[in-house]
Amino acid sequence: MTITIGLPSKGRMKEDSSAILARAGFSVVAVGNDRSYRGRVEGRDDIEIAFLSASEISREIANGTVDFGVTGEDLVREGLAEADARVEFCARLGFGHADVVVAVPEIWLDVDTMADLGDVAADFRARHGRRLTIATKYWRLTQQFFSGNHGIQLYRIVESLGATEGAPASGSADIIVDITSTGSTLVANHLKILSDGVILKSEACLVRARKPEHEGNPVVAEIIDAVRGAL
């Protein structure tokens, strides 16, 4: 059987993941021209490369169309329910660092922890006639963190697919859950991260779909070992 690896189709993520694979001894080349979405590994007929958009990779791993993928842990955990049962995080690759964080307006001087936020959320409706709103594209991570880890139920999510940091200032939401790598965009928008508000420290990972046929497959084991060895 051929093993398929899904890689990001463009940008820094594409270059960095190809570089790691090359160090691991798998030299990735595009099939046909440079823009092609199919690739192969030099000298290996048993490995195929599929170039996919970052957000598609977690979905393709989940439904098993690719065996491995290189993508951000945040996208996998957001995209899949019970991610750990369905995929294996084989290696953390040391690039694509981004934290998923809870950030509130800097001027909320009384709010520095999730417990503070819980207090504010609890009587938000009584004071403001509506629930506390959170702008985010991370529905699942937000729900798990707020309800599961901190027992905060009374809030509403406002979907935000871009420029999430601007939501509190524009009035479209009260607080945000978003990714940040340096925190500078948050600071520029007068937002601060809660002291216990880091939901996930994400980076690019080599992720394997948990498929029964991987059991005892030497190529699967070889890829994992080689990538781990290249770090």
Partner: protein
């Protein structure tokens, strides 16, 4: 619409509900999703079936009846008191069991005699179940959030903590964790660097200065026009938090709360046990205890034997519109909930009713009743 899997006893059940002075109502299966998410929180999203209208309005398949029945009551603007009965299909994403099943129940809106209405809800639920399941022994568990609220208030805890504890009531893990945190000798409040800077500048010393500072910062950062929390809101809570930072839940209060939450006994003995607890602890539970007692008396009048009901002090629902009574009925020695109910005095105003409407109700799980009936046959 043909009703699939409707238990054969459904017509008898409806007749039974209607015989209890109720008016049968129906509500559309497709409901606006907003009220459900607003009342129960975002977590509900994973457990209901949602869709969107062509215009982008969030819709869902009816996950329960209480909110639709209350909304219908508000819309039709009929006066109170009213007693509504329903029977119909509800839709929820469940790990086990079917995703669509039938529920029936009664919502009792606007009855000013709270004890009587509570007792009637419990009594009706028991009677209706007994009529469907002759010969099956049932176990009834009852809780009351207002007693916990009274205990917390009588302990003299700071208002902010009372709110936190009451909010966590009904969620055991959350409540335990909270009590541990509040009694932990580690600093209970964390303040950011900006607060420390303001403290050095002396801007925290009086509320007016603090409000002015927050207001000026909001103006300067262009945040004020859309700010949901006003400078006064933030200043007030910051000062509350500072007052609490050096306080912690003392060992005696913690022990009292634990002792209270561990109470589980026959409802017939509960008023005396609560009074004894209050006396021993030196707490005055006054009103709450009186209301509790009058409910027990009302239950007796409604033909419910309180010695056959278990009172569990820690039993509640962690939703902010449940305010007092909660109860559940299961077959004896079986955790399967056949009926669940409670008082939700805050729900109708949250849904937009102009005046406060006290409300109590219960719902029955028809698929579970059918399975118990089958097993007993």
């Amino acid at each position: 619409m043909p009703l699939i899997n409707l238990p054969a006893f459904a017509p008898d059940l409806v007749a039974d509900l209607e015989a209890r002075g109720t008016e049968r109502v129906d509500t559309p299966v497709i409901q606006p999703a907003e009220p459900f998410l607003d009342m129960a929180g975002e977590d509900l999203r994973r457990r209901i079936f949602m869709t969107e209208s062509e215009t982008g309005k969030s819709l869902c398949l009816r996950p329960e009846f209480t909110i639709p029945v209350c909304l219908r009551h508000i819309e039709t603007a009929t006066g109170t008191p009213r007693r509504y009965a329903y029977l119909g299909e509800v839709f929820r994403q469940r790990r086990e069991g079917s995703n669509e099943f039938y529920q029936a129940g009664i919502e009792d809106l606007g009855e000013p005699d709270v004890a009587r209405a509570d007792a009637r809800a419990v009594g009706d639920a028991i009677a209706v179940l007994t009529n469907r399941l002759p010969g099956v022994s049932l176990s009834v568990v009852l809780g009351d959030q207002s007693v916990f609220e009274a205990v917390v208030a009588a302990c003299g805890l700071p208002a902010g903590w009372q709110k936190r504890l009451v909010h966590a009531f009904g969620n055991q893990t959350q409540l335990q964790r909270l009590m541990d945190t509040l009694s932990n000798p580690a600093p209970s409040g964390i303040f950011g660097p900006e607060v420390e800077r303001l403290a050095i500048l002396g801007k925290l010393d009086d509320e007016a200065t603090l409000i002015a500072h927050i207001d000026a910062t909001m103006e300067a950062t262009g945040y004020s026009t859309n700010a949901s929390r006003s400078p006064a809101d933030i200043a007030r809570r910051l000062r509350e938090k500072m007052e609490l930072a050096s306080t912690r839940l003392d060992a005696r209060t913690l022990a009292l709360l634990r002792e209270f939450l561990a109470l589980e006994l026959s409802l017939a003995d509960a008023p005396r046990a609560l009074a004894a607890f209050a006396e021993k602890a030196g707490l005055s539970l006054g009103e709450a205890l009186a209301r509790f007692e009058s409910r027990v008396a009302a239950l007796r009048e409604a033909g419910v034997d309180p010695s056959a009901v278990i009172y569990r002090a820690a039993f509640g629902r962690p939703l902010d519109y449940y305010t007092g009574l909660v109860f559940e009925i299961t077959p004896e020695r079986d955790p399967l909930v056949l009926a669940g109910g409670g008082r939700f005095d805050r729900l109708l105003t949250l849904l937009g009713a102009r005046e406060r409407i006290p409300a109590v109700g219960f719902s029955l799980w028809l698929d579970r009743i059918a399975s118990v009936k089958e097993a007993a046959a």
